[in-house]
C-alpha cells in the first residue's frame, strides 16, 4: 500500500470495489482530492456517488482497492476512527439527531475532539456562517425547516474541524434561494481552508464552485476533468445539465 502522499494528494482512492450485499456498487473507482480543492462527484441516481462517500467514511468498507488519507491507509478503518483522522461528513438526507437541540447536534460533531478550548471558536465560526443557528440553538433539530436542517448538518460536520469535508447532496430538497445560499457557504468554507469533496445532483451548481469534477456512471468513472472543462463538455451538458442542442 502507498504510505507517502503522491504529489500532495490529500485523499487517494484507488481501484475501489464496494458492494451492497451481493451488488457491486463501485466497480474499480479511482479518484484523488488535493489540499485546498473543491472536488465534485456528479452522476445520475445509483451511479455510486453516495457509496463512494460511505466507502471513504468507513460505513461501507470496499472489498478491494485502497483509500489513503494524508499518507495513512484508511481502507478498513471504522467510521469513528476516520473522523478522528480528519474526515467529516454531512450525510445525504441530513440525518440530524431529531430529538436533540441544534446546539447538541453541533456538539455531537465534535464528539471525538479533546481540545475543548478550540471548540468555542469553532462554534462561533459555525454561527458566523449560519447566524440563523445561533438564534435557534435551543430548538429541537427535528422541528427545523429543511434549509435550516441542512445548515445544522453542515455546521455539525464542521465542528469536527475536518481536513476534508464530505458533503452529500447538500442542495437536495431545498428551495432555490436556499440552494444559492448553500453553495455560497461551501465556497466560503473552502476559502477558510477546508478541502471539500462534494456529491451533487445539481451538476451545474456543483461544477460552478468546484475546481475539478468526476462524472460517475453505474459504479465507474466516466469522465474526469477540470470543472470548467466539464461544464463545456457536450456529453455532460446533454446528460446532466438538461441541455437539448
Amino acid at each position: 500500500m502507498t504510505t507517502s502522499p503522491q504529489d500532495g494528494a490529500l485523499l487517494t482512492v484507488e481501484k475501489v470495489h464496494t458492494y451492497y450485499g451481493s451488488i457491486e456498487a463501485l466497480k474499480g473507482i479511482t479518484i484523488e482530492v488535493h489540499e485546498g480543492e473543491i472536488v465534485t462527484l456528479i452522476g445520475a441516481n445509483g451511479a455510486g456517488k453516495s457509496t463512494m462517500l460511505r466507502s471513504i467514511n468507513g460505513l461501507n468498507h470496499p472489498r478491494r482497492g485502497s483509500i489513503v488519507f494524508r499518507g495513512k491507509d484508511i481502507t478498513r478503518e471504522p467510521p469513528h476512527d476516520v473522523v478522528r483522522l480528519g474526515i467529516s461528513q454531512s450525510p445525504e438526507g441530513r440525518k440530524l439527531f431529531p430529538r436533540m437541540s441544534v446546539l447538541e447536534n453541533l456538539e455531537m460533531g465534535a464528539f471525538q475532539r479533546r481540545d475543548r478550548s478550540e471548540l468555542r471558536s469553532d462554534l462561533e465560526r459555525v454561527y458566523a456562517l449560519f447566524p440563523r443557528l445561533s438564534e435557534r440553538k435551543q430548538q429541537r433539530a427535528g422541528t427545523l425547516s429543511g434549509g435550516e436542517q441542512q445548515m445544522v448538518a453542515i455546521g455539525r460536520a464542521l465542528m469536527a474541524h475536518p481536513k476534508l469535508l464530505l458533503l452529500d447532496e447538500p442542495s437536495m430538497g431545498l428551495a432555490p434561494i436556499f440552494v444559492e445560499r448553500v453553495f455560497e457557504t461551501i465556497v466560503e468554507i473552502n476559502q477558510q481552508g477546508t478541502t471539500i469533496l462534494l456529491v451533487e445532483q445539481n451538476a451545474m451548481m456543483a461544477l460552478d464552485v468546484a475546481s475539478r469534477g468526476y462524472v460517475l456512471e453505474t459504479g465507474t468513472v466516466a469522465l474526469a476533468d477540470d470543472a470548467k472543462a466539464l461544464l463545456r463538455n457536450e456529453q455532460v451538458r446533454k446528460t446532466y445539465l438538461g441541455e437539448t442542442d
Binding site: L59, P78, H80, S88, K95, P98, E104, M108, R156, A160
Partner: protein, 343 residues
C-alpha cells in the same frame, strides 16, 4: 390519565377510554372512603412493587431505545441475578438475621456491587454472543433470537439453582418506619424505594449529562450519523446492555429481599415490566418509571382493596389487558412521542 387517550383519536374511542378512566377513579374513591386504611397501605405496597418493576422496565426501554429490540432475555437475567444474589448473601457472605446491623448494611452493599457487575457482564455477553452478529439481519430474526436467549438463560438458572424458590431471612427488620392509624410502612419496603431512587438519579445523569450517554442518545436516534460523528456504535451498544443488566441486577436483589424468586420468576415479571415500559412509552426512560409505578399500583389496588376488586386471580388479565389497550389506543405510550419513523 385522560391523556392516555389523546385528542387525535376519533371521539368514539376517546369517550370510551374516558369512561373507563372515570370508572376507575370512582372505584378508587369509593374504596378510599370505605376503607381508608387499606387504601393507603395498598398504595404504599404499590409504590414499593412499582419501584422494583421500574428497574426492570428501564432495562427493556434502554435496549429498545438503542436497537429497537425487545430483549426477551431481560427478565431472565433479572431472575438469574436474584438467584445469584441469594447465593452471595447466604453462602458467600453468610448473612442472617443475627448479623449485626452494620454487618448487614455492609454485606448488602457489597452484594449490590457484585450483582451489578454480574448483571452487566451477563447482559453484555448475551448481546455480544447472540445479537451483535445479527446487526444487519431482519428484525424478526433478532426477536426470535431474543426469545431463544430467554429460554437459555432460564435453563441456566434451572440447572444451577434447581426448581426451588430462594428467599432471604428477614435481614432488614420488618418493623415499622411509621404507623398512622393502622397504616404501616415497614423498613424492608422502604429499602426497595430508597435503593431505587439513587439508581434512577444516577441513570438519568448518565444518559443526560455524560459523553457516553450522549453517544447513546445519538445512536438511538440516527446510528449511521452517530458513527460518522465518531461514536463507537458497538461499544455504545455494549454499554447500554451493561447498564440494563446492572439495573436487572439491582432489581433482582431488591426483589429477593421482598419476595421469593426461582428460575422462571423472570418470565412473567419480565412481561409485566415490558408492559410497564410500553405503557410509559417504550424508549422513554421517565415513561418506564411512570408505567412501572402505575402497574405496581394497579396490581396492589386490585389485590388489596376490598370493594368490588376483581382480586389477585385477575391481576394478569388486567395487566395484559392493559397492554392490549395501550397498543390499540395509544401505541406510543403515555410519555412517548409519535415519530415519523413510527417508533
Amino acid at each position: 390519565m385522560a391523556a392516555l387517550f389523546g385528542t387525535r383519536r376519533p371521539s368514539g374511542t376517546s369517550l370510551l377510554g374516558l369512561f373507563f378512566v372515570l370508572l376507575l377513579i370512582i372505584w378508587l374513591i369509593v374504596n378510599l372512603v370505605k376503607t381508608p386504611n387499606d387504601f393507603f397501605t395498598v398504595l404504599l405496597i404499590g409504590i414499593t412493587t412499582g419501584s422494583v418493576y421500574a428497574l426492570i422496565a428501564l432495562g427493556y426501554t434502554l435496549v429498545y431505545g438503542i436497537l429497537q429490540l425487545i430483549n426477551f432475555a431481560h427478565g431472565d437475567v433479572f431472575a438469574l441475578s436474584g438467584l445469584f444474589s441469594s447465593t452471595i448473601i447466604l453462602s458467600v457472605l453468610g448473612l442472617d438475621e443475627n448479623t449485626s446491623a452494620l454487618g448487614i448494611i455492609g454485606g448488602l452493599a457489597l452484594a449490590l456491587v457484585i450483582i451489578v457487575a454480574f448483571g452487566a457482564v451477563v447482559n453484555t455477553t448475551i448481546e455480544f454472543v447472540a445479537y451483535r452478529r445479527l446487526r444487519q439481519a431482519p428484525r424478526l430474526a433478532v426477536l426470535i433470537t431474543a426469545v431463544g436467549m430467554s429460554f437459555i438463560v432460564q435453563n441456566v438458572s434451572l440447572a444451577v439453582f434447581d426448581v426451588n424458590f430462594r428467599s432471604l431471612p428477614p435481614l432488614i427488620p420488618e418493623s415499622n418506619v411509621f404507623k398512622i392509624g393502622s397504616v404501616t410502612y415497614q423498613w424492608n419496603q422502604l429499602f426497595a424505594v430508597l435503593a431505587t431512587i439513587p439508581v434512577l438519579l444516577l441513570l438519568s445523569w448518565l444518559v443526560r449529562s455524560t459523553k457516553q450517554g450522549k453517544g447513546m442518545r445519538a445512536v438511538s436516534q440516527e446510528p449511521d450519523a452517530a458513527a460518522i460523528m465518531g461514536v463507537n456504535v458497538n461499544r455504545t451498544i455494549s454499554f447500554t446492555f451493561a447498564l440494563a443488566g446492572a439495573l436487572a441486577g439491582v432489581g433482582g436483589l431488591l426483589y429477593l429481599i421482598e419476595f421469593n424468586i426461582r428460575y422462571d420468576t423472570g418470565f412473567e415479571l419480565g412481561l409485566i415490566a415490558f408492559t410497564a415500559a410500553v405503557l410509559g412509552g417504550i424508549g422513554n426512560l421517565s415513561g418506564a418509571v411512570l408505567g412501572a409505578l402505575i402497574i405496581g399500583l394497579i396490581q396492589a389496588f386490585n389485590e388489596g382493596l376490598s370493594w368490588a376488586a376483581p382480586g389477585s386471580d385477575w391481576t394478569r388479565s388486567i395487566v395484559f389487558g392493559l397492554l392490549i389497550g395501550i397498543l390499540v389506543f395509544r401505541p406510543e405510550g403515555l410519555l412517548g412521542e409519535r415519530t415519523p419513523e413510527g417508533a
